[in-house]
């Protein structure tokens, strides 16, 4: 492989190729830590054009590769499986163009999600998708996974905000799909690429839609005695006709962790809290908040606290977005699941998760996008106990099966990756999967782009170890 490494160095420079054991170990997993694998060589091209050169070399040598952004993914999408070369887009960090009048931005794939909003905020604009990892995750990774976030309830997910992509195909050719102009004729190829988990090639640039930053906010923390009461409140708010910007739930276990970490003053005996954010023109917010207050009261809310300034709002959101990290205080290890149910089934899935926790003798917390029915059970465990690890995996599978049985899906925003290949069978027939493979072959006829991901029939063993690193914040 050193011959390949030196050829890559000739393209991108010596500082952009890693092939020593210590350097490579950083890249042996992403946010999904239950399985690991090390690439032979990692290449970090400094420009989109260098990505093209790298891809041409890999095409000529017929070498499979795995694309990677910041490595914050949660389904093992960047785990190398029979892919010797990892191509990282993390150095493509230029925001190339902010078009205020047309409300678009052209960015390179390695630009960090939060940097886009930071760059356009002075113009009263924002980039809406806000995954919890937004201080670290890249736009390229967001596009690969079709990432969500708390504010997708009102604003939609990544695919609703990507107008065009520059896709470097595994052949080394460059496809410009979509662009700054909306409504161009022809069927939607951009929407096909978003969420394809790096199996079509490598996105190097994207045209993003910018939206007007809300004029005003109401960020409300509502404390309940039980998850049932909080769940019924969620349904009530949705039924009232209000579309909150975000509607998030945290249960007692997460409250314990968050309170210990951030001291917000949530009562430790609370059963659940809802974080409800309303946004839009100031003139409409008081009446919307009155409706939300009424719904909360009719379900026995214990306390309603409204953030009185931006600092309080930031604190409430910090609790929510860093809840995963705070959980690290409660247990040596934890595993975050991602499933979806129809909104009306949120109370039912929470009952089933509790039953699963009892059955497998595990502690499971819930911090999730209640308004979307997108659950994130967090299973606590100790990696040194092999029996616990086995039970964690079994409990995760049982929860996903319950989601599907209730009419939902096995992933709302983390992707299939390596983790959930088998669960694709819960949702899709052989014919469905064959159709997806036909599409994949159009972009990647040789199957060299992120091989052995998504599709359930890959009979490939990966090195399964117990986790030793936690999900990055």
């Amino acid at each position: 492989m050193s011959a390949l490494a030196s050829r890559l160095r000739a393209i991108v420079g010596a500082d952009a190729v890693i092939d020593d054991a210590a350097g490579l170990s950083v890249y042996d997993c992403d946010g999904y830590t239950l399985e690991r694998g090390t690439p032979d060589v990692v290449v970090l091209p400094p420009t989109p054009e260098k990505v093209v050169e790298v891809m041409r070399l890999l095409a000529a040598e017929k070498i499979p590769f795995v694309p990677r952004g910041a490595g914050t993914g949660l389904s093992g999408g960047t785990l190398p499986v029979q892919a010797p070369v990892m191509v990282c887009t993390s150095r493509l960090r230029t925001i190339e163009h902010v078009d205020v009048v047309n409300r678009r931005a052209r960015v390179q794939a390695g630009v960090v999600n939060a940097q886009v909003t930071k760059a356009v905020a002075p113009h009263g604009l924002m980039y809406a998708p806000d995954p919890s990892s937004q201080p670290a995750c890249t736009i390229g990774g967001n596009i690969a996974e079709n990432s969500g976030g708390p504010h997708t309830l009102k604003y939609g997910v990544t695919t609703n905000h990507v107008l065009g992509v520059e896709l470097v195909l595994p052949s080394g050719e460059v496809a410009e799909l979509g662009g700054p102009v909306e409504g161009a004729p022809g069927y939607d190829l951009v929407g096909l690429v978003v969420g394809s988990e790096g199996t079509f090639g490598i996105v190097t640039r994207a045209w993003l839609r910018l939206v007007r930053a809300p004029e005003s906010f109401r960020t409300v923390l509502a404390v309940f005695d039980s998850v049932e009461a909080a769940s019924e409140t969620v349904s009530g708010i949705i039924a009232s006709g209000i579309v909150p910007a975000a509607l998030e739930m945290m249960d007692d276990l997460i409250i314990e962790a968050v309170e210990a970490a951030y001291h917000v003053g949530i009562p430790m005996d609370a059963g659940a809290v809802l974080l409800i954010e309303l946004d839009g023109p100031e003139v409409g917010l008081d009446e919307e908040q009155a409706v939300v207050d009424d719904v909360c009261r009719s379900h026995g809310v214990r306390e309603i606290r409204v953030a009185k300034d931006q600092a309080e709002r930031d604190l409430l959101w910090k609790c929510r977005k860093r809840a995963f990290g705070a959980v690290g205080r409660l247990a040596r290890n934890y595993c975050t699941q991602d499933g979806v149910v129809p909104r009306t089934k949120v109370p039912e899935i929470l009952r089933r998760i509790a039953a699963t926790a009892t059955k497998f003798d595990l502690r499971i917390g819930n911090v999730f996008h209640a308004g979307d029915g997108n659950i994130h059970p967090i299973i606590l465990f100790d990696e040194r106990d092999q029996d616990q690890v086995r039970r964690v995996l079994a409990a995760g599978r049982e929860i996903l099966e319950a989601c599907v049985a209730l009419g939902g899906s096995v992933t709302g925003e983390h992707g299939i990756g390596i983790e959930k290949r088998a669960q694709m069978r819960l949702l899709f027939s052989d014919d469905d999967i064959a159709a997806m493979k036909r599409v994949r072959a159009v972009f990647d006829p040789e199957g060299r782009a992120n091989p052995h991901k998504i599709f359930p029939d890959s009979k490939v063993c990966v090195e399964a170890r117990t986790p030793r690193r936690q999900v990055p914040l």
Binding site: V181, P185, L189, A239, G280, P342, T411, F428, V442
Partner: protein, 293 residues
């Protein structure tokens, strides 16, 4: 009602047959205070499959998006008669490729749509229109962008005909929000307020086409609309121009004898380009023979 497979209002999703007429779907949703906020000019003559295949949209696209923002699941028979599904019935779902997207704007090329699932939204309580006149088409386009920046309009179009150029602004929401936004617009541009904004919007899509008129839609950047509109001024071919400035979508309605404007929207890439070849390969993968349309 017929055509609806399942509808749980509290889930805010609806699953319908491909041949479900849009007027029926709209009525069923309205009974529950919800809607699929996509403009369809002739809802009684348009099916769900048409909506997807033609990627229909109107002025609401400016704030509400288009079919791609609402279609969350699809089942179809491909050309070999195989039933294929993608997506599902939940509002967030990233399991597998989003194959529904390639049906949007494909005019049924990938097969017959059997069933489609959409996200739906609460229907705003009020929709009001403010209309004001401008001296020139370019000035009207600039005013439309200024409206966008001043308030949060649901839609905003420039309507030009031989006699005059008007900017029409739709604002939606609660009574308070609608009142405040309408007053803000009228405070700066005067104009007249109409209470049934939804009716005004519905009439925009159908008014000038007539039985034999031609319609041509062109997409551009919002900033480019002004110059484009000025270039259409005085053109005898254009009997009316409707410009959704916020989205950059301009529709020219012409007299039936104007053959020059008879264009059906086709992909602009050449078949030899990388994207053109991708489309060709995708067509071939699903055994599509394209007629010379």
């Amino acid at each position: 009602m017929s055509g609806i497979v399942s509808y749980e209002p509290a889930d805010m999703t609806v699953t319908v047959h491909g041949d479900c007429p849009m007027d029926g779907l709209t009525a069923a949703l309205a009974e529950q205070g919800q809607w699929l906020p996509i403009d369809v000019a002739l809802p009684a003559r348009t099916t769900v499959a048409d909506l997807i295949g033609e990627n229909l949209s109107g002025p609401l696209r400016a704030s509400q998006g288009t079919v791609r923002d609402y279609l969350i699941g699809l089942r179809w028979h491909d050309r070999d008669g195989t039933l294929i599904s993608s997506g599902g019935r939940v509002v967030k779902n990233v399991a597998g490729y989003d194959l529904a997207k390639m049906h949007i704007g494909a005019r049924g090329a990938f097969g017959e749509i059997v069933e489609a699932t959409f996200k739906v939204r609460p229907k705003p309580a009020h929709e009001v229109t403010v209309t004001f006149e401008c001296e020139s088409r370019g000035e009207a386009a600039a005013a439309a962008l200024a409206v966008r920046d001043l308030v949060e309009p649901a839609w905003c179009v420039v309507v030009c005909d031989a006699r005059r150029t008007r900017v029409m602004v739709g604002v939606m929401g609660s009574e308070r929000v609608v009142k405040a936004q309408a007053e803000a617009v009228m405070g700066r541009w005067q104009g007249t307020r109409e209470e049934d904004g939804a009716l005004v919007r519905a009439n925009l899509g159908t008014a000038p086409t007539g039985s034999a008129g031609r319609v041509r839609t062109t997409a551009m950047l919002p900033r480019e609309v002004g110059d484009y509109l000025d270039s259409t001024n005085g053109s005898p071919a254009a009997s009316m121009v409707l410009a959704d400035v916020m989205s950059g979508v301009v529709t020219v309605f012409s007299a039936p004898d104007d053959s020059a404007s008879a264009e059906s929207p086709k992909p602009t890439e050449s078949p030899e380009s990388v994207v053109g070849r991708l489309r060709g390969a995708l067509d071939a993968a699903f055994s599509i023979c394209r007629p010379n349309d």
